[in-house]
């Protein structure tokens, strides 16, 4: 019964939160309307997400915090590169990141993280889905950069998408 009514509890929680944040009003009426939307939308959109992966929410929250922190730190690094590093000292490089993640959702989050953290932009995925093409603004040692991204983000994503 609960599963029929709430086929996607995570999406319901997300929609209710989004609704509250958007309406900008912490009253019972808003919460009620938010719940109506949060329950109705997952039920009616169920046909569009077959075979969705399981997500562990606590590690996902910790991951969001880590990524936010990295965005702040790396923004300062990239600002320093743009302002003070002459073009001849710049070492832009293409990185080929071998993927251990297999679910498309996990790969999407990984690629999005790489694009958001300044200094790297994910450009493409291989046709076999096993490599990610990443452009780095300044990577004197591409192998070290690949290892860093894998250890910092991919290892955590493997915990989130078991």
């Amino acid at each position: 019964m609960i599963r029929r009514l709430l086929p996607h509890p995570g999406l319901t929680a997300l929609l209710v939160t989004m609704w509250m944040v958007m309406v900008n009003d912490l009253t019972f009426g808003t919460l009620f309307l938010g719940l109506v939307v949060g329950v109705a939308v997952p039920i009616f959109t169920a046909p569009w997400w077959p075979g969705r992966p399981r997500v562990r929410f606590l590690p996902a929250l910790a991951y969001a915090g880590l990524v936010l922190w990295d965005i702040v730190v790396a923004n300062f690094q990239v600002a320093a590169i743009i302002l003070f590093k002459p073009t001849r000292d710049l070492r832009p490089a293409w990185l080929t990141v071998p993927l251990e993640l297999s679910s498309p959702e996990a790969i999407t989050v990984f690629a999005g993280t790489i694009s958001l953290t300044p200094g790297t932009v994910s450009a493409d995925v291989s046709a076999c889905g096993q490599y990610l093409l990443v452009h780095a603004l300044h990577a004197p040692d591409p192998a070290a950069e690949v290892a860093k991204v894998k250890a910092r983000y991919e290892a955590r994503l493997k915990e989130i998408f078991p």
Binding site: M18, M20, V21, M22, N24, L26, I71, V72, N75, V78, A79, I82, L83, T87, L90, R91, P92, A93, W94, T96, P98, P104, I107, A111, G112, S115, L116, P118, G119, V121, S122, A123, D124, V125, S126, A127, C128, G129, Q130, Y131, L133, H135, L137
Partner: protein, 140 residues
């Protein structure tokens, strides 16, 4: 003017200047970096921390200065964070495609064209997704 209000003003001003500074550095990066792929890094940065700082300034201003909770701003940054990588990805894919087909409207730049991935597969811009991978609509 009360003490809290002036503290709110200071904090808001500092955050706005920080955000505007990052937006400016992002735009300067767009001008001075050598080629398209490097330039792509500038604006994606400005939209993350630059916009983030300005939106936090708005939250701080309404909360400390006027005593009202506003949360719309957080939603704006969430939507920006979700959409910015996709725009960057699309620009990069067009660039890759043009480099390969030999009609580059932009020079390849210091990093050159990317090498194909190890193994038989090519990058997804140049080759249809293999069977069993998520983009394989023919196999659905």
């Amino acid at each position: 003017m009360s003490g809290t209000a002036s503290f709110a003003e200071l904090l808001t001003a500092a955050l706005i200047v920080l955000g505007a500074g990052f937006a400016l550095v992002g735009s300067w990066g767009l001008v001075r970096l050598p080629s398209l792929m490097e330039r792509l890094h500038g604006p994606t940065k400005a939209s993350t921390l630059g916009m983030g700082a300005m939106l936090v300034a708005s939250v701080v201003w309404f909360q400390l200065g006027k005593g009202v909770w506003t949360t719309h701003e957080l939603l704006i940054s969430v939507f920006l964070f979700v959409t910015a990588p996709i725009a960057a990805n699309m620009i990069a894919k067009v660039h890759l495609h043009r480099l390969r087909t030999g009609e580059p409207s932009e020079p390849a730049g210091p990093s050159g064209a990317p090498a194909p991935p190890p193994g038989k597969a090519d990058w997804a811009t140049h080759q249809a997704p293999h069977q069993g991978t998520p983009g394989d609509f023919a196999g659905d």
